[in-house]
Amino acid sequence: MLIEGKFTMRAPIQKLWNFLLEPGTLASCIPGAEKVETVDDKTYECVVKQSVGPISVRFKFNVELKEVDPPRYVKAVGRGEDIGKMGTFTCDAIVRLNEISDEEVEVSYQTNVNIVGRLATFGERIMRAKAKSVGEEFTKNLQKRLKGEMA
């Protein structure tokens, strides 16, 4: 399932890039992130808790920065599973920075999330609903953090 969107930031592209690439920036914006630990400069380990009504899951996964093309493009790949074995989780995220002017950058992202297992069987409808709200919150968090950082 594809979650995508874009927004613009008032900041120099290099500054934005440096911040984005700091380990944990992206992961810590994921709603429900409980833990983000750096494994090496390209890999970190996250635990994210999510719930829909009475169902709650805790995904433990590794994020690896697969392709990095500074200061414009980064592709991260996440793999993991629910601690309670309710599902396996894979995710490819691409973030692109596009300079509109010296002081303005368009941030676009594209995340392809895939969850297989009991969770997915329960209802694609609900998964999607959740993904939508998680996606929106993620953007909000990212914008907030960037704004805070760039201010």
Binding site: V52, G53, P54, I55, G84, M86, R118, L119, T121, F122, E124, R125, I126, R128, A129, K130, K132, S133
Partner: protein, 291 residues
């Protein structure tokens, strides 16, 4: 596969509330279980304590009073509502809605309270109760509180029930004169879960008068059963015309926040809402004029 749990089947409401209080946080209440057991079988919910209230005869009643309106115990089954002569007579829309809710098997065992507490935004009873301006009684050891049905739903499968609380009664005020109510859900196969659903109630000032009050409720059009208040606004106080209903449809469609899933895209859901709000509005209007 269902996890092991400790099972209680209290015989009185008081006993049940005591158990809720005792096991706060770790229990699930099962009534008919028609939704809960699906989730438990998938291993998605693993309660330590299961409190079975299906046997609480205290909550199994339908009471109707011309002044006070309708009171339904939360354990009343869908089928009992569907078949109740009192409800058919005074709140026909409830029977109509129940008649198309899932299968007879599910209606025979599933309860209205369980359906509401499950909090599925695609459920049929919630939007109908919202259009009827229904309220709910939530009971705990501490006492009772009342909440509007429209305020009960917080998010996907999340309701305003606090730990220790149980839904005990649904109240519907008497319909004002010249009121018509209608509900329709759209699905590809019959009696299926709503792709979207629309309920409308219209109260006219007089038989051919202006719209005194209107309520529009949408199913599966946002993370929770929702009221389309802006759409209502366009109708309230005016003489309802086809054109006005179309406008209400347009607005409701914008107010809604539906998702795309395998059954329909967001765009299509919005299209459907436009059409259904108008059609259901027309039906409600017709009924208001006849009542």
């Amino acid at each position: 596969m269902i996890c092991d749990f400790e099972y209680f089947s209290p015989k009185t409401l008081k006993e049940a509330l005591g158990l809720l209080d005792q096991y706060k946080g770790d229990y699930k209440i099962i009534a008919g279980g028609q939704s809960l057991l699906i989730m438990m079988r998938q291993g998605l919910i693993k309660p330590r304590y299961l409190i079975d209230i299906k046997g609480l005869s205290e909550l199994d009643y339908i009471k109707s009073d011309p002044q006070k309106g309708l009171r339904i115990g939360s354990l009343i089954t869908h089928r009992a509502i569907e078949k109740s002569p009192v409800i058919k007579e005074s709140f026909g829309i409830l029977s109509e809605m129940e008649h198309k809710l899932a299968s007879i098997q599910t209606r025979n065992w599933g309860s209205i309270g369980g359906n509401l507490c499950h909090g599925d935004p695609a459920g049929d009873p919630a939007p109908v109760l919202i259009t009827l301006n229904g309220t709910l009684t939530l009971t705990s050891l501490k006492g009772e509180r009342r909440i509007l049905v429209e305020d009960f739903f917080l998010d996907y499968f999340e309701t305003a029930l606090e730990p220790g609380e149980m839904l005990t009664e649904i109240q519907i005020p008497p319909l004002p004169p010249h009121t018509g109510v209608a509900y329709t859900k759209f699905n590809v196969i019959e009696n299926d879960m709503a792709i979207v659903g629309v309920g409308v109630s219209i109260t006219l000032a007089s038989i051919n008068g202006h719209c005194k009050e209107v309520r529009i409720a949408l199913a599966n059009a946002s993370p929770r059963p929702m009221r389309a208040k802006q759409a209502e606004e366009i109708l309230r106080g005016k003489k309802i015309t086809d054109d006005l209903l179309s406008q209400a449809g347009e607005i409701a469609s914008q107010e809604a926040d539906p998702i795309s899933d395998i059954h329909a895209s967001e765009e299509y859901r919005r299209e459907l809402l436009k059409v259904l709000v108008r059609r259901v509005g027309e039906e409600a209007l017709l009924r208001a004029k006849k009542s």
